[in-house]
């Protein structure tokens, strides 16, 4: 090594240390100037604490079962009370139900958003848009009850079967439930497309429909994708709307693509088995925590996808406020 490079290295090191020292001093000064920064940061960091609580309780209770699943496979049968506790069919139908519901909501919500942005008159839009934003928080237990007393009955009448409780009913219920989220966020995405792009297209002689399909939709695509993923996340994690209409099949819901069969999903499994005929700390409770861990992973992946989609979005698509039902 030549002395020159050694000098370079030292200089780099000194700069590095100096930078950190400078930042530290700056931080101390800013803390002295505005001490309120500390409690405010703690408020912001409380979410980290909550996530930590969640992961801690899940892993503390469920680690044995999680390890068992990863070693011996996820199993096919959840026999209430006695075991074994396998969740493969539950994972399948959770995803099947979630995707179906979100796709139905997108199929209705995206045209609804297009209609509200381009073709609806202003007065209707001014009423419908805030209403959609409000309805994102609509009580899901009520939607479930309506699904049970109306959708299931209508399905039973028209398609036959025992009770009408099925994956199809869950799709319809979740579709209506996530519709406000998807419609309202897609509408935001479409509306935040810069006006000059649209005007340029119209000036070239394109019709409004061509402008919508060839200009507005491609530009707003990341926002619309994000709205779909948000809807997917809330459909997958929904408990109360689904538990009424899914049929709550034990011990092994069918793995089939036929939508008109009763089934069961992870959230409903947890809610059903938390009822108390097995006590806290028993293997079944621990397996419920393990099931919650799997559900957490599924929704976290969907959440990460939203982040990635929104990070890749071009500058011209403007800002979209992402709100979803909590």
């Amino acid at each position: 090594m030549t002395p020159l490079s050694r000098n370079g290295l030292t200089r780099k090191l000194r700069n590095l240390v100096g930078n950190y020292a400078k930042r530290f001093v700056k931080l101390i000064y800013s803390l002295k100037r505005s001490p309120e920064r500390v409690p405010l940061f703690l408020c912001a960091a409380s979410s980290i604490l909550v996530i930590f609580f969640i992961l801690y309780s899940i892993i503390n209770e469920g680690h044995a079962q999680i390890i068992d699943w990863f070693e011996h496979g996820f199993g096919m049968i959840w026999y209430p009370g006695l075991g074994p506790y396998g969740i493969t069919p539950f994972i399948f139908s959770t995803l099947y139900v979630g995707f179906g519901g979100a796709i139905i909501a997108l199929a209705l919500g995206l045209p609804c958003a297009i209609y509200l942005t381009e073709f609806a008159n202003k007065r209707l839009r001014n009423v419908v848009k805030p209403a959609l934003e409000m309805l994102t928080g609509f009580p899901s237990v009520v939607i479930g009850l309506v699904g049970f007393t109306l959708v299931c009955l209508a399905l039973k009448i028209s398609l036959g079967g025992d009770s009408g409780q099925s994956v199809l009913a869950a799709w319809l219920v979740l579709g209506v439930m996530t519709l406000p989220t998807i419609a309202s966020v897609s509408e935001d995405a479409l509306r935040s497309v810069p006006q000059d792009l649209k005007e340029a297209s119209l000036a070239l002689g394109a019709t409004r429909w061509q402008t919508m399909i060839k200009v507005l939709l491609p530009v707003a695509a990341p926002g619309i994708m994000a709205s779909f993923l948000l809807g997917l996340g809330s459909a997958t994690g929904e408990t109360m709307a689904v538990i009424w209409v899914i049929g709550n099949v034990f011990p092994s819901p069918p793995i089939t693509l036929n939508p008109y069969v009763p089934s069961n999903v992870l959230t409903a499994l947890i809610a059903n088995r938390a009822q108390g005929d097995s006590t806290y700390g028993s293997p079944e409770w621990n397996s419920m925590f393990a099931a919650a861990f799997v559900l957490f992973l599924i929704t976290a992946i969907m959440n990460l996808a939203v982040r990635m989609v929104m990070a890749r979005r071009g500058k011209e698509s403007g800002s979209v406020i992402l709100t979803r039902r909590p």
């Binding site: 100037r33 405010l40 940061f41 408020c43 912001a44 960091a45 996530i51 609580f53 969640i54 309780s57 209770e61 199929a107 209705l108 045209p111 609804c112 209609y115 073709f119 609806a120 209403a131 934003e133 409000m134 309805l135 928080g137 609509f138 009580p139 899901s140 237990v141 009520v142 939607i143 009850l145 309506v146 007393t149 109306l150 009955l153 209508a154 009448i157 028209s158 036959g160 209506v176 519709l179 406000p180 019709t207 429909w209 061509q210 997958t236 994690g237 109360m240 959230t267 947890i270 809610a271 938390a274 806290y280 919650a292 559900l295 957490f296 929704t299 982040r307 406020i321 709100t323 909590p326």
Partner: protein, 446 residues
């Protein structure tokens, strides 16, 4: 162009038009058949025909279910009429539409083994015929999607979907409103409700069910505990993220965790609350545990809306405040918070509405499954009654409580409970809207 050519061209045009006419007539026929199936169904049902269902039904449910079934059944006929229009107006789009219809109908007929699936076969055969008739038109010179037809179709489809979506949500509210009003009475709201009494009611031995006063009060208490925790935390976090944070790793991490928390399903928050409050801290099912768990659930919502509201405050407000000699904190408190108060208040109220209707969290942390419904004013140690949980317990009560005799009344009363819940939710939404408009007017002076 010679006269001969012209005549040939004219003839081919006539032929094409004739073919289109025939194809679209077939589709009109198919549409009529599909529609008549729906109408026949409706009249049989409403005329008290052979449709007789046992189980959890009464006449009102049946009417609603029938009407919605028929509305769904009318949709295919609408699509068939649209296809007829397309066939008349654009050759290139026409054959795409008709072959798509054929394929869908055949697939549905093949895979859906249900009553009325013959209808799909009829539609499939008719549309197949229409497609065959239309095929020679494909090779015609005007094989390009007509912009006018596309525009009309697009507008029509989008308007239809928009109105269907809005109609679904309005229908949901109407359904709750109409069915919920059946049992609504002053005693239902002011009275108190017990499980034994409800079981007697379902068994037909007593005439009065009692009311849901305790549940309403319990829900409101839960929501107030939740907001007491969530407002300071959420506001503080939002202020930090909007006003104090610089773009670095720590802020990114905090943001990441907030977004992750926003994506956690409520049942998992409920489980965590159960492990933490009910078991570890020995609260039992309690007001405090339920409220704090609810706060965890709506925290990301509050943070996000408040942060967006603060970011929307123009930079000039902050600069003006700083120029007058205010410190950063004073600027935030007096200028930014004031200017963003409409957005922040809306966010808080929306979170409140969402917390009010949340069931899974309260079920696992606040109320429990036992069905305890007496209100104890204690922070810990006593389960707190809650309206959404009460609504949710309906099947347990109805199917386990021996209430077969008055099942219909039981469901009606659960729907009445949801009616009360929805009215409370909508009232909060209305207050949020009014507050937002009023404050925006006051602050911006417009």
């Amino acid at each position: 162009m010679s006269a001969d050519n012209l005549i040939r061209f004219h003839r081919s045009l006539q032929q094409k038009t004739r073919r289109s006419l025939a194809a679209s007539a077939l589709f009109v026929a198919a549409g009529c058949i599909a529609a008549s199936f729906g109408m026949i169904r409706l009249f049989t049902a409403l005329g008290g025909g052979p449709l007789n269902y046992s189980g959890n039904t009464d006449s009102l449910s049946l009417v609603f279910a029938e009407v919605s079934t028929v509305l769904v059944m009318l949709l295919p006929s609408l699509f068939l009429f649209v296809t007829a229009y397309v066939l008349l107006n654009s050759h290139s789009l026409g054959w795409k539409f008709s072959s798509a219809t054929t394929l869908t109908a055949i697939v549905l007929w093949f895979f859906l083994h249900i009553a009325n699936s013959d209808l799909f076969l009829v539609i499939g055969v008719l549309s197949l015929l229409a497609t065959v008739i239309e095929i020679p038109n494909i090779r015609s010179s005007d094989n390009e999607d007509s912009p006018v037809v596309t525009e009309n179709l697009g507008r029509f489809a989008v308007t239809l979907c928009g109105l269907v979506a809005i109609g679904l949500l309005v229908g949901l509210l109407l359904y709750i409103g109409i069915r919920g009003a059946v049992y609504l009475s002053p005693t239902f709201i002011t009275g108190s409700w017990t499980w034994p009494n409800a079981q007697k009611f379902l068994g037909g031995t007593v005439s009065s069910l009692g009311g849901i006063r305790d549940e309403i009060i319990g829900s409101l208490l839960l929501v107030s505990v939740c907001e007491t925790v969530a407002i300071p935390l959420g506001l503080g976090a939002a202020i930090y993220l909007a006003e104090y944070s610089s773009e670095n790793v720590i802020t990114d991490t905090v943001r990441f965790f907030i977004e992750t928390l926003a994506g956690v399903p409520s049942i998992i928050i409920g489980l965590m609350g159960y492990a933490l409050f009910v078991v570890q801290l020995h609260f039992g099912y309690s007001l405090l545990g339920g409220g704090i768990s609810l706060a965890f659930m709506i925290l990301p919502w509050n943070i996000r809306i408040a942060e967006e509201a603060m970011k929307a405050v123009p930079q000039s407000y902050r600069e003006a405040s700083m120029a007058l000699g205010a410190t950063h904190w004073q600027t935030v408190r007096r200028a930014v918070l004031y200017a963003s108060s409409p957005g922040i208040l809306t966010g808080i109220l929306l979170g409140l509405g969402a917390a009010l209707g949340e069931t899974a969290v309260v079920l696992l942390t606040g109320s429990g499954w036992g069905g305890t419904t007496t209100l104890h004013l204690a922070l810990t140690g006593a389960a707190i009654p809650s309206l959404p949980v009460w609504i949710f317990m309906a099947p347990t009560l109805l199917l386990g409580g021996g209430g077969k005799g008055r099942l219909v009344e039981g469901y009606n009363m659960m729907l009445t409970g949801s009616f009360v819940l929805v009215v409370m939710f909508l009232a909060i939404c209305a207050v949020a809207l009014i507050v937002r408009n009023h404050l925006t007017k006051k602050i911006t002076g417009k």
